[in-house]
């Protein structure tokens, strides 16, 4: 007997978290028009001096909420119990990467906050912290790529009459994984679509993450409703 | 799943591996690692003899000799312990295990005293090449000895609990303890006596 009590509560934290994330995203002045890796040290330092407050508050917010997706991921992991798998190994893979990805993002926020903590420090130091933050944020995709890959594989192997997730969700995860991969190469160039402010490494990557969260939460909501209804019916019948 | 293995003390067969054969894998592998550590030390020592000799003169040889004899005595005790356990005299065996532990503790205390003395003399982990090796080798051996107390704990539990008693495990733990002993014999020779 699956214990599903409270899963709706966890699911409904997502809209709240999404609002906070979107707010933080627009509050951080370096995201709306992504900071360029071509900026000189002086420009970067000026940026941190001019926007100190917005950088601090947005990053503190992200610092609090970067782990907020973990409960949602655990909902997915719990759904994976119902899949037609022989072993829990893909669940273990998911749990493994679910913890590492937010910690990587947390590290990036620490660098941003550190740069904004003392904007009057020598410009080169500010630029160094800024580089570390952006490299961690942009290139730090390994756990997300693997997460999509593991989930796609789990859905592919879920061969039963009523699979937990529809088959297209697996293919969707592959597409997202592919969209995330180029960001790993952002260190190779400072210009063009592959640079950390570029179309591929910034926009495609972050839109892909947003899309993944939206689509997966809708899919998850449907599955959870279905399970909850089934549980209710069983309770009535019993 | 719930029943424990029923190990009754029996006379040893003509030729048998003392303890789990698997522990002998550890003995041989760990000896190789220590041989590598000691070999690296001897190689560099031979190239910088005066510096090593000068630093080595701060060690007290008789303290090292006492250390060695203390550990040898603990090894002797645990060897007796194994024999007594095999003969089914578990109370005597347990007493021998406690004697082993006591000598082990004496060794640990002597080591801490020696380290403290050297640090007061200004010889620390980062003060000279010789003392790098000295502190590294004695410390990593110290850690092995601490794990030896875990092994002794398992051994005493085997001797105390009628349901658990496994001569194989007693011998396995003793084999570990002897390994810690003979590794010290090697460390002592190259740190205190080698010139």
């Amino acid at each position: 007997m699956k214990r599903t009590s409270g899963e709706r509560v966890i699911l409904w934290t997502l809209p709240a978290v999404a609002v906070i994330w979107i707010a933080a995203f627009f509050l951080f002045p370096g995201f709306v028009r992504p900071m360029s890796p071509r900026s000189s040290a002086a420009e970067v330092a000026a940026f941190y001096r001019n926007h100190t407050a917005r950088i601090r508050y947005s990053m503190i917010l992200l610092n609090w909420f970067c782990v907020a997706l973990i409960p949602i991921l655990m909902l997915i992991v719990e759904r994976m119990r119902g899949m037609a798998h022989r072993t829990p190994i893909l669940r273990f893979c998911m749990i493994g990467v679910a913890g590492a990805a937010p910690i990587a993002f947390l590290t990036a926020t620490v660098f941003w906050l550190l740069a904004a903590f003392q904007p009057e420090r020598p410009p080169e130091l500010t630029q160094l912290l800024n580089d570390l933050a952006w490299v961690t944020f942009t290139c730090g995709v390994p756990f997300l790529v693997a997460q999509c890959g593991f989930l796609a594989m789990a859905i592919y192997f879920d061969r039963q009459d009523h699979p937990v997730f529809p088959r297209w969700v697996g293919r969707f995860n592959i597409v997202i994984a592919i969209a995330l991969i180029p960001a790993g190469f952002a260190g190779l160039t400072k210009t063009g679509v592959f640079a950390w402010d570029g179309l591929v490494s910034f926009w495609a990557k972050n839109v892909a993450i947003a899309l993944w969260i939206i689509v997966m939460s809708v899919v998850l909501a449907r599955v959870i409703e279905r399970d909850a209804d089934a549980a209710d019916n069983a309770a009535i019948a019993g | 799943m719930t029943t424990q293995q029923a190990a009754t003390p029996t006379a040893p067969p003509a030729r048998h591996v003392p303890g789990q054969p698997d522990m002998w894998f550890f003995v041989l592998f760990e000896s190789l690692i220590f041989t590598a550590y000691l070999g690296v030390y001897l190689y560099y020592r031979a190239q910088h003899q005066q510096a090593f000799l000068q630093a080595q003169s701060h060690l007290t040889l008789w303290l090292g000799v006492v250390d060695t004899i203390v550990l040898l005595t603990s090894s002797w005790s645990i060897a007796r312990c194994v024999e007594q356990a095999r003969a089914g005299r578990y109370d005597v065996a347990r007493r021998d295990a406690y004697i082993t532990a006591a000598f082990g503790v004496i060794f640990l205390v002597l080591k801490v005293v020696e380290w403290t003395r050297q640090i007061h003399l200004g010889n620390t982990f980062s003060s000279s090449d010789f003392f790098q090796y000295f502190f590294f080798l004695t410390a990593i051996h110290f850690v092995h000895l601490l794990i030896g107390f875990v092994a002794l704990g398992i051994l005493v539990r085997q001797l105390s609990d009628v349901k658990l008693r496994s001569q194989e495990l007693v011998e396995t733990c003793a084999t570990y303890w002897h390994t810690v002993d003979f590794l010290w014999v090697l460390i002592f020779a190259v740190l205190y006596v080698a010139r």
């Binding site: 190469f185 | 293995q5 560099y44 982990f125 850690v143 092995h144």
Partner: protein
């Protein structure tokens, strides 16, 4: 094995995780030794100028090689998951398996992400001031080597599980090999103290003997995991011995008790 056979094979998930593990360790070796030349490690005693030269010298290799780690690094989870599963198959509490899963998953971030970030940041701007390049250089190598100690507890968790296990999932000697590995992992920590001699991050004792032991350990556990998958019967009792090759298969002790 053909794809069709794999689809119906009840062990497909295990074999895929095993294959991914082999792929990951090989990729790691190729990236670190061939592409980036992070191994053998750079000299710990480098001056700021030498560190800066090191970055410009290895510029392309570092960026391409580390990008590969950024893309495939998440596959490290497969070996952790497989080992977690193997511990769950033992007759010990699941607390052991979950401890192993958490310890190794969390260690991945300082274990390999920090060095990738630090060295990528350094290679991206080879014209940065030597002092800062020097700092990135040290951050990279020390976060990579100096944090090996976290695997001490992880190895001991696995060791304890193997030694207590009555299902014969792994031979006991491998349990003791875990102890050997754990004790060499802590030997790397003097790299926080020394720049020359045998104890820095490229030292003979602190690094190479440890890498040698870790290499043997990794090779052995990948082989043993293969044997484990072959023997796996999806039950809860003692694992049956390997069908043909009995080299690593300890007899399931106390079977039927």
């Amino acid at each position: 094995m053909s794809p069709v056979a794999l689809r119906d094979n009840p062990k497909r998930e295990l074999w895929l995780a095993w294959g991914a593990t082999v792929f990951f360790y090989n990729l790691y070796a190729v990236v670190f030794f061939v592409f980036t030349h992070i191994q053998p490690p750079g000299q710990p005693w480098y001056s700021p100028d030498q560190a800066r030269t090191w970055f410009s010298h290895h510029h392309d290799g570092l960026l391409i090689g580390l990008a590969l780690i950024f893309v495939f690094g998440g596959l490290s989870a497969t070996s952790i998951a497989l080992i977690t599963y193997s511990i769950r198959r033992m007759s010990v509490s699941r607390a052991f398996s979950y401890s192993y899963l958490i310890i190794y998953s969390v260690s991945a971030v300082p274990g390999f992400l920090f060095i990738c970030v630090a060295l990528t940041a350094g290679a991206m701007r080879p014209d940065r001031s030597p002092q800062l390049q020097h700092w990135l250089y040290q951050l990279g190598f020390l976060s990579f080597s100096g944090t090996m100690g976290v695997f001490l507890i992880g190895s001991l968790v696995w060791m304890t599980a193997i030694l207590l296990d009555r299902n014969g999932v792994f031979p006991k000697w491998f349990g003791y090999l875990n102890l050997c590995n754990a004790l060499t992992e802590v030997v790397v920590s003097p790299s926080w103290i020394f720049k020359t001699g045998v104890f820095p991050w490229n030292g003979l004792i602190a690094w190479w003997i440890d890498v040698f032991v870790f290499g043997i350990y990794t090779g052995v556990f990948i082989t043993l995991l293969r044997g484990f998958i072959i023997r796996e019967d999806f039950g809860t009792g003692p694992l049956p011995p390997a069908p043909h090759w009995r080299f690593w298969a300890t007899e399931p002790a106390e079977a039927g008790s």
